[in-house]
Each structure stands twice: as structure tokens, then as C-alpha cells.
């Protein structure tokens, strides 16, 4: 069985490790920040570029490149925002850092802020993390008392404050421009790109970097070991470790940190997570948070990787990194692996997800606002026993008309589950018209 390699979660679950600053300092905390503030920001940036790190928030965009796009000519202040909204269904990794090792995030953020010369930094945390926000605020005060943030950090002449900003239960605040609007005190309506690329026109119309919690923590370790050394972890173009969150029908769900590409889906599910429940077989896996396209248990994935090598994989063979799930027509997204065994009613599973997207659309663009409601209504009607011939095609047609026609990627996030569920499980959808009418008290998406 492949070994876990815990970099980000090294101490999180260690017995006796506490989240206060004394414990963090005893474990070598803030040493890298001390080193960083004596360096040239450009040198730090080069290390981040060399590390090859890609963002852990969902899109996998190279972090060094994102930082390079910062508009420095405008002369406007620069802001750094940590995206701690963690609201993609199936994802629960950032929470581990926030609740168990908050200073790691703060150190990663202050190094990043110093590197991009940010005037101020924010942590945008989802509203349901009541305790998480308090933990971070306490940690910030501890760090301020020791001059790791605030005025003239460690005598470097660089000043930067860090503010925790709580959301209030809206998934769309995870989308970076929605987040920015929310932070400005408005409805979180995502902005259109171009021109509103955050690195050019972000919060307060100033250049802004938005990065995920796990990404920013990694910056600390990149600087610690050096970009080139970090790049040796994982596989080319997929460097470092990733924290995978496994949920659903496995014996040992949880979060597991592995070098990218060094573990397959099969090893993850069958070895690390203790396999499926006795007597069950696999039906489907969503590999990267609920927005990622579903993979069917008996699919074969064939094609060519970026480097030209051909592959022919079963679902179990897929290496867990950025590029492989993408090569299989899905994505590693936020790292949330949701497992469904043969007891799962696939139409109800989609209906459950449709209810999520219908609840969370911000309502700004018509195809998304109306489309997600239609898709929800269709699958709900099906689950309530009023399935009609052609429902599968109807669902596909709605999803296809959302995709690519919206302001933000939520449109795709809502369309992809529908497209993939319907295409890959067409028989399940068609069989539904023969099901008897049911009336369920709790609604339509209850699964069990």
C-alpha cells in the first residue's frame, strides 16, 4: 500500500499537538517566515515558480504564474485573499488545517503576502465554520503579539494586516469573483472575465490574488525545501502532495495526503479506505467534488497523456493527480472523492445534486438560474414517480444549454453532473418510467 506523505497535515492529528502558537513554535513554526522576510520577494516568487505548484482550490491553475499576472504598473495597493469557503460538496480538507493547525496557514499567508507585496490580507471563511473563524482570529492575535504580522513584521519594514471575513452560507462565495463582491459587502454576484481578472481588477478594483487554504500552506513548505526539491514530490506537472477527501460508501472515509500521481483510485478506495462495505460492488465515483463528472465503475478510459504516452485504464487504475482524472474526461477539482456502491439509486443521487445547484445559483444569468431549477424539477418529478419518456434527453438538453453560456464556472459545475450521470447511466434513467409513484415526506433526494 502506498505510504501517506503528510506535509500539510504533518502535525494535524499528532497526539499532543495543539493549535496554539507555543506548540507551533516548538515545532519549528514561523522559522520560514523569518527566513522569508530577509529574502528578495522575487527570489521567493522564483521558488514558487520552480516548485510547479498548482492551485488546490479546484481549477489547478499554476500558482506562480497567477502571481506573475499581478498588475504592478497600476500602482494600486495589492491584496491577498485566502479562499477558505470550502463549500464544494465532498471536500473537507481546508477545515483540518483551520481547526488543527491555523498558524501554518497564517505563516503561509504572510510569506505569500510578503512575496507579492500585499498591503492587506483576508481570509474569507464560510459562515458555518463558527469555531474556525474564532480559532483563526485568536491565532492572528497570537501572531500579531509576536510581530509575525501587523506593523513592521520582524523588523523587515514590511507591514501587512490579516482580517478574517465570514461568509453566510452561500456556495457561490467560493467562486473567486463572487467572493470578492461578498468581501466588498455586496451580493456575491460573480464578475465577468475579462476584464475582471482578480490579478488585475480584484477587490476594491485593485490587483488581488485569491488562493486556496491548501495552496497557501504549501508556499511555506516550498520555501522550506526549495522549489526544485518540492518539484520532485509527485510527478511532472503534478507536483507536491494533495489532500484527498473520501466520502460515501467506503469503510474508512476521511482525508488522506499523498504525493500527486503516486496512488491510484483503486489503492485509495480498497487499501487506504478499507474498501467497500461487505457484499457491495462499486457503482460510480465522483472524483473531484460534486461538480466533477461522474465515473462509472465499469468504464474503460483510453487516450493519450500530455507527454504522448497512451493509457488504457479501468476506474481503479486512475492515478490521483491533476492530469489523469482530466484525461478520463473528469477532473480532480477540489480533491473530494465521493463513492457510490450498487445500493445507490443513481437518479436520486443526481436529484440530490440538482437540489444543491438549484439552491446555490446566484441567479445572475438566465441559463443558469432557470436551467438549474428545471433540472431539479425534472429529477424531482422522476423520483416522485412521474417519470416520462424523453426525460433523459430533456435533462441533457437543458444542461447543454447552460454550459458555456454563463458569467461564471458555476454553470459548468451544475451542467457536468447532469451530463455525465445521464450519459453514463442512461439505462437507470430510462428504467425510471416503469417505477411506481412514491410520495416521500422528506422530498425526493433522500437516497436511503
Amino acid at each position: 500500500m502506498p505510504e501517506e506523505k503528510r506535509i500539510i497535515l504533518k502535525y494535524a492529528d499528532e497526539p499532543g499537538y495543539t493549535r496554539d502558537i507555543d506548540c507551533y513554535l516548538k515545532h519549528g513554526g514561523y522559522e520560514i517566515l523569518k527566513k522569508a522576510v530577509k529574502m528578495e520577494p522575487d527570489t521567493i516568487h522564483k521558488e514558487v515558480m520552480d516548485s510547479g505548484i498548482r492551485g488546490r482550490g479546484g481549477a489547478g491553475f499554476p500558482t506562480g504564474l497567477k502571481w506573475k499576472f499581478l498588475d504592478r504598473k497600476s500602482g494600486k495597493p495589492i491584496y491577498l485573499i485566502c479562499n477558505a469557503d470550502e463549500s464544494e460538496p465532498g471536500t473537507f480538507k481546508d477545515k483540518q488545517v483551520i481547526y488543527k493547525d491555523p498558524h501554518q496557514l497564517i505563516e503561509g499567508m504572510m510569506i505569500s503576502a510578503f512575496c507579492i507585496k500585499a498591503k492587506q490580507a483576508f481570509i474569507y471563511i464560510r459562515g458555518e465554520f463558527f469555531e474556525g473563524a474564532k480559532i483563526l482570529e485568536e491565532a492572528i492575535e497570537e501572531a500579531r503579539a509576536k510581530n509575525f504580522l501587523g506593523d513592521n513584521i520582524l523588523g523587515s519594514g514590511y507591514s501587512c494586516d490579516l482580517v478574517v471575513h465570514r461568509g453566510a452560507g452561500a456556495y457561490i462565495c467560493g467562486e473567486e469573483t463572487g467572493l470578492i463582491e461578498s468581501l466588498e459587502g455586496k451580493r456575491p454576484y460573480p464578475r465577468i472575465k475579462p476584464p475582471y481578472f482578480p490579478a488585475v481588477l480584484g477587490v476594491y478594483q485593485c490587483p488581488t490574488i485569491v488562493n486556496n487554504v491548501e495552496t497557501l500552506c504549501n508556499v511555506k513548505h516550498i520555501l522550506d525545501m526549495g522549489g526544485a526539491e518540492y518539484a520532485k514530490i509527485g510527478v511532472p506537472n503534478n507536483t507536491g502532495t494533495r489532500i484527498w477527501c473520501v466520502s460515501g460508501h467506503v469503510q474508512k472515509p476521511g482525508y488522506y495526503e499523498f504525493p500527486c500521481g503516486k496512488i491510484t483510485m483503486g489503492e485509495m478506495i480498497n487499501d487506504v479506505c478499507g474498501g467497500l462495505f461487505p457484499g457491495r460492488t462499486l457503482k460510480a465515483i465522483i472524483p473531484g467534488g460534486s461538480s466533477a463528472k461522474v465515473l462509472r465503475a465499469d468504464e474503460r478510459f483510453q487516450g493519450k497523456l500530455k507527454d504522448g504516452t497512451e493509457f488504457d485504464w479501468s476506474i481503479w487504475d486512475i492515478p490521483l493527480d491533476f492530469d489523469s482524472p482530466m484525461a478520463c474526461g473528469s477532473m480532480s477539482g477540489s480533491g473530494g472523492i465521493m463513492v457510490m456502491d450498487d445500493t445507490t439509486d443513481i437518479v436520486q443521487a443526481l436529484s440530490n445534486l440538482n437540489a444543491f445547484y438549484a439552491h446555490e445559483s446566484c441567479g445572475q444569468c438566465t441559463p443558469c438560474r432557470e436551467g438549474v431549477q428545471w433540472m431539479r424539477k425534472v429529477t424531482k418529478r422522476m423520483c416522485n414517480g412521474d417519470s416520462r419518456e424523453g426525460d433523459a434527453d430533456l435533462l441533457l438538453s437543458i444542461a447543454n444549454q447552460i454550459e458555456g453560456r454563463t458569467v461564471c464556472a458555476f454553470g459548468e459545475a451544475a451542467a457536468w453532473p447532469v451530463q455525465s450521470f445521464v450519459k453514463k447511466f442512461k439505462d437507470d434513467f430510462e428504467a425510471y418510467s416503469k417505477k411506481p409513484v412514491v410520495s416521500s415526506e422528506c422530498g425526493d433526494n433522500q437516497l436511503v
Binding site: 463549500s87 464544494e88 460538496p89 471536500t91 465570514r166 453566510a168 451580493r187 415526506e441 437516497l447
Partner: protein
């Protein structure tokens, strides 16, 4: 609407932290809701005045975010996650059990103002599904039995 002097102090300190006053809308609404358990009309006016905004600019925020409430929530606000990972592990049954135990309907508050029950979307704890929150407290691996136990605890 009376806000305590401590709250006013906290509000003043919070507004200071942002480059623009408007950024403080959400935090102020959170603070007020913590004290009053909802956002009344006067609070919208008050926040608008404090941050030099039009009441509409605060109202549109209040009506967008699911966690901001226009009517008082019960003293014990129970939230059950209903999204896929939790549903696969039985969260809808858990919700039913809670309705029975507490005599509260989904998306309602009991008349005596004791309990509110709500479905939530993924609470970022899918590995310990199903998950339930009571006020700010979080419970993992809540099966029907554990849900009933939690409810009995609330009634004491």
C-alpha cells in the same frame, strides 16, 4: 432596537479593519444576528446608517445569504446536512427523527421559540457523514439513534 454597548464597541472595531465601510456589512449583520437571533428592519436601517449606505444596499445582502434570517430562529437552531455524502449515509432519516423528537417541522420554528430545524448544504465534514449542527456546535457521524440522543439532550 437596543444594541448593547459591548456590541457597539465590537462593531466600531470591526469597521476599522476594512479599507471601505461597506465591507463591514456582513460582519455587522452577523454580530447583530448573534444578539437578536434575526435581522429586523430596524437593524437594516441601523447598519445602513452606520456604514453610510442606502438601506437597500443592506437589504439586498440580508435577503441573499441563507444564514441571515428575517424572523427569529429558535433558541436551539438545528441544522442537518442534506447533500450527497450525508444523504448516502442517511441524513434524510436523521432529519425525520429530529422532527419527531423535537416536534418541529423542517424549515420551521416551534411556536414557543425553542427549536428551529433546517436542511443545510454540504458542511465540509463529508468524511464523518451524516453531520448535524446545533447552534454553533457540530456533531459527526449522526445516525438516527445518535440524533434522538442529541434531541433528548436538548430538551433537558
Amino acid at each position: 432596537m437596543e444594541l448593547s454597548p459591548e456590541l457597539i464597541k465590537k462593531i466600531d472595531a470591526r469597521v476599522e479593519k476594512y479599507p471601505t465601510k461597506r465591507s463591514a456589512v456582513l460582519p455587522l449583520l452577523h454580530m447583530i444576528q448573534e444578539e437578536l437571533r434575526y435581522i429586523p428592519d430596524e437593524a437594516i436601517e441601523w447598519v445602513a446608517h452606520r456604514l453610510e449606505l442606502e438601506p437597500m444596499q443592506v437589504y439586498e445582502v440580508v435577503t441573499f445569504y441563507p444564514m441571515l434570517k428575517r424572523t427569529p430562529m429558535g433558541k436551539k437552531h438545528v441544522r442537518v446536512c442534506r447533500t450527497l455524502a450525508c444523504a448516502l449515509r442517511g441524513s434524510y432519516q436523521v432529519c425525520k427523527a429530529i422532527q419527531e423528537e423535537l416536534g418541529v417541522e423542517l424549515d420551521h420554528t416551534t411556536e414557543d421559540g425553542e427549536y428551529s430545524l433546517e436542511f443545510m448544504e454540504c458542511l465540509a465534514s463529508c468524511g464523518t457523514a451524516p453531520v448535524v449542527m446545533v447552534n454553533e456546535e457540530h456533531y459527526d457521524n449522526v445516525d438516527v439513534e445518535k440524533a434522538r440522543e442529541i434531541c433528548r439532550g436538548l430538551k433537558k
